[in-house]
Symmetry: C2
Subunit: 339 residues, 2 copies
């Protein structure tokens, strides 16, 4: 494995010049530059990145914290991050937290040890205070997360508003008994979506009753179980808004099992627009998050931080979209109620 001094010797220059050819080519005379490049070629020289990283105290690597890599929502975002990172010469280190707080703490050690230049956290569980403290010392960006006091750049959608849209859509289809299966309440996103559901109900003079609300865990199974439960009550909902597509699909299968037809007897709206939403039967009406774009934007923001650029805007709320398919029954209706 040839090193820089070998190149220098062969080219008849000093290591300083070789280094300059590599990093500041403009400060070197074309003729010497050529000699050096020739020597590099001849020796098939590759700079030792470990030495470079050590000397410059930077790694050109960023860390992405993912609650669960197998969840398509997160892997799509990671895809966006990865693309933007690669284009800017950064590499992406991945870490599955499995929703464990201790894994988030452990990842901060990586930052402290300078093993990565920065970090993007997807749906962090850490409390806001701790996050802010970390961000004072290290470049971090949050995605699919929301802060009360936006001191750290984050990328998200407006979960309250999008939830309102989803619920409103069901109400305008004539439903009055609209149920909601939420995500876990420790997550701000879940609380925001629940809030949006409540807002929509109240805005239309409806009372969001407790018996129509269930706390799920974003998973298929939790959607399935809660739907069975909801349909076993005396008064049964005619529509349901689930805070994730997985839960919505679970709910539909539960309804089917009980002979309740979707969308005829039960209108369903989900959230996420996972790939499978359009393949499912009935195809799922859902809120689409611009996942790839959110990943890209997060990386863009992190790059700014890494380059020491000022970030004027810390809140990055990207547009979401209600995608109307078959599960809500809108396609069978003549027209919607007015807003």
């Amino acid at each position: 494995m040839p090193k820089m001094s070998d190149v220098a010797k062969l080219a008849g220059v000093s290591t300083a010049t070789v280094s300059r050819v590599l990093r500041n080519p403009d400060t070197v005379t074309p003729s010497t530059k050529e000699k050096v490049l020739e020597a590099i070629n001849q020796l098939n020289y590759q700079p030792n990145m470990l030495a470079r990283h050590f000397r410059r105290t930077e790694t050109n690597t960023i860390l992405v914290l993912v609650p669960n890599i197998s969840n398509t929502v997160f892997s799509e975002i990671v895809g966006g991050i990865e693309e933007e990172a690669a284009q800017n010469g950064y590499r992406v280190l991945l870490r599955n937290t499995n929703n464990q707080l201790e894994n988030e703490y452990a990842s901060i050690e990586h930052l402290k040890q300078r093993q990565v230049d920065g970090m993007i956290m997807l749906s962090p569980k850490l409390d806001e205070e701790t996050l802010i403290e970390i961000s004072h010392q290290y470049p971090i960006v949050l995605a699919t997360a929301h802060l009360e006091t936006p001191t750290i750049p984050f990328v998200s959608i407006d979960n309250v508003r999008s939830s309102e849209k989803a619920t409103e859509h069901l109400i305008r289809l004539g439903h009055r008994r609209v149920a909601h299966i939420s995500g876990p309440m420790y997550s701000l996103i879940s609380r925001n979506r629940y809030e949006g559901y409540q807002n929509a109900m109240k805005n239309h003079g409806l009372n969001p009753e407790d018996k129509f609300v269930r706390e799920g865990e974003f998973t298929y199974e939790s959607g399935y179980e809660h739907m069975l439960d909801l349909l076993s009550q005396k008064e049964v909902p005619t529509a349901i808004y689930a805070a994730s597509d997985d839960m919505a699909i679970g709910a539909i299968n539960a309804a089917n099992e009980l002979g309740v037809k979707v969308p005829e007897d039960l209108a369903v709206v989900g959230f996420d627009n996972i790939k499978f939403a359009s393949m499912f039967n009935p195809s799922l009406t859902t809120i689409a998050q611009p996942l790839h774009g959110m990943g890209q934007r997060s990386m863009e923001l992190l790059l700014k931080k890494l380059n020491g650029e000022a970030i004027s805007q810390t809140e990055h709320v990207l547009p979401d979209k209600l995608i109307i398919r078959d599960s809500c029954g809108a396609k069978h209706k003549e027209k919607l109620l007015p807003m």
Copy 2:
């Protein structure tokens, strides 16, 4: 940011001793060890990993090449790798190749520059010869890949045999016009699955006709399109074996669209057992690969290579499983034909 010499000074020892406390605690007297640990604590010292990596020429990081991170098959495998890696103090660097050969080449540069200690390639596109050449110089392991001459450790299932099982299952349900939508033929896996399909047909005295075989791309869309096409022929298949669940679901939706009922008019078997296979309606009969386990095993093998242990067995063929659900119609049949 305190360094080792600071700790040494505070503890009244040399840096060598501090280093020993950190890496070979047994060679240090308990009393000095205590002094050093006390100093480390007091200064809140964190070793500079960049310096350590540089000095030791190792990074405790491995690279995983993924054709597409958003594909659940691969993200499950990555999950398994990640888990095993974390348990052994290794970190996982991720790289999306998007099926681009040039990205595989670029990743080899990382190895050459010693930025990672080893690499796991998922479904590599690189030719066998090149792979073998690389593996002479660097620790690599392949997963969901198969080699003619197994000089590089790889983890896979027996795609030929599993395909035979899938096709046979349909034949034993009484089907004779069994179609196959394959994966792209540049992939050895696709060719193996096609081979298994052919074997099963021939073994049962059936002729695998060209008009019943289509080359897809593992995607929902390709399954959908090819099924439309297959059903528009004069002679129509009564069963289909698709080389991925995505294609199988595409096929089912295409059949539905043409009024062909699954499983009554068309039996369907898929491959992969993606999460949605069991949620789909009809639920999908499919071959389950032990994805998480394959990831784990790949990492185990790579760890052996990294530790310089000999790998006696390079071919690691894990057991797959035919999971019978609703899409093949087996549950409506009284009994199967004999083998």
